[in-house]
Amino acid sequence: MKIFKKVALPLSVALFWLVLWQAAAMILNNSLILPTPLETLKRLLELTADNEFRKFTALSILRIFIGILISIPVAWFTAALCSKSKVLSSLLSPAITIMKSTPVVSFILIAIFLVDRQIIPSLITFMMVYPVLFENIQEGINQTPDELLQMANTFGISWVLKVKRIYFPAIKPFFLSALSTSVGLAVKAGVAAEVVAYIPDSIGKKLSDAKSFMEPADLLAWTVVIIIISLLIEKAVRAMTKSSGRRSKHASDK
């Protein structure tokens, strides 16, 4: 039963969609509109064998990672400041609302006029991830148990220790769940930025070229690459979330 759930079921689901794709391609019978799964796989293998593929993929991932990595400390810092200052919180609130509600393509088009093209994917990734992290960290701060803070104040515990042992454990589940949901968003937004801003040496540029040169097999192959990257990053973050959720007994601390 376990083997069925772990292996057979996902394989059957994948097979169902592949058959559906194959059927649609056969009905359309035009690889310029919809190539078959086999044609796409063939093109994907050709692409991965190319040195440029590794370079473009690595650079795209790097740009997205930079956006995520910058948004993490900025979200922690601003959320902490806003929890202490209502004025700052009120000042930042419209910016967060705008970042959340504005279509990503508007930001990309505005960014094209304002900043260097190379930093657009990182900037857009930041703008997608930051508000999600900020709001969740703030929620974590609000949910920090008052009783524990009262206890720490009674014992005259330093603020560093309060942050480390009371605030951080309270915020951690909110932060990790936000990070887990926003990385998928980050990959999509980052690649969209590369497509619209036509960033050299990027997956986005390759996608854009595939569309312009009417190469749907390339388009689908690169899309598969993006899906795999997104899934791998999400899996990595989920694994991180799970492992940090576990309590560890350090030998020295018993």
Binding site: L148, Q150, T154, F155, I157, L161, R165, R247, D253, K254
Partner: protein, 201 residues
Amino acid sequence: MLRINDLSKSFNNKDVIKNLSLSLPDSGFIAICGPSGCGKSTLLHLIAGIEKPSEGEICFSGEKCSISMSFQDSRLLAERTALQNVNFVLGDKKATLSRAEKLLFEVGITDVGLYPDELSGGMKARVSIARALAKDADIYLFDEPFANLDMETAEMTAAAIKKHTEGVLVIAVIHDKEFAVRIADRVIYFDETPITGEYII
């Protein structure tokens, strides 16, 4: 010396403490008894500075008065072991772990690596007591420290409290009046709600 002058505290317009005056010495074990919900814990919270008085004042002799407290609901850090919880008030340093461990042994906790969700109510209370004793203070407050303990363990824990609080003031809310009379130097019994009156000890 701890002086409480005309202290009043109300929650949602309901008086819990009304015009209470109390003078306590610099040292000794003072037990506070009274029916459930009469405001004994609120009094400890007011002395600890967790709650602010609605009226009146609490004065301590000396410029600086440090307070340590064991809470009725233990208030342990869920992600830290019993040992780490006690060590928390010692600055969370490796060097102080042996002191924290010794205190836990004295209150009968030998499996110091257990997390709060692995401890019984009585064990949590004793970890909270050990944590309170870990801090050097002028006043120790214990809120129902023996509530979940059998008589033998309560006696052992009371002995540990007395050993570590010699020469300072201990105020403990104790539900069991007979036990309070046996272990405390003085017992204050509040028999009405809100707590009121004038007491000089």
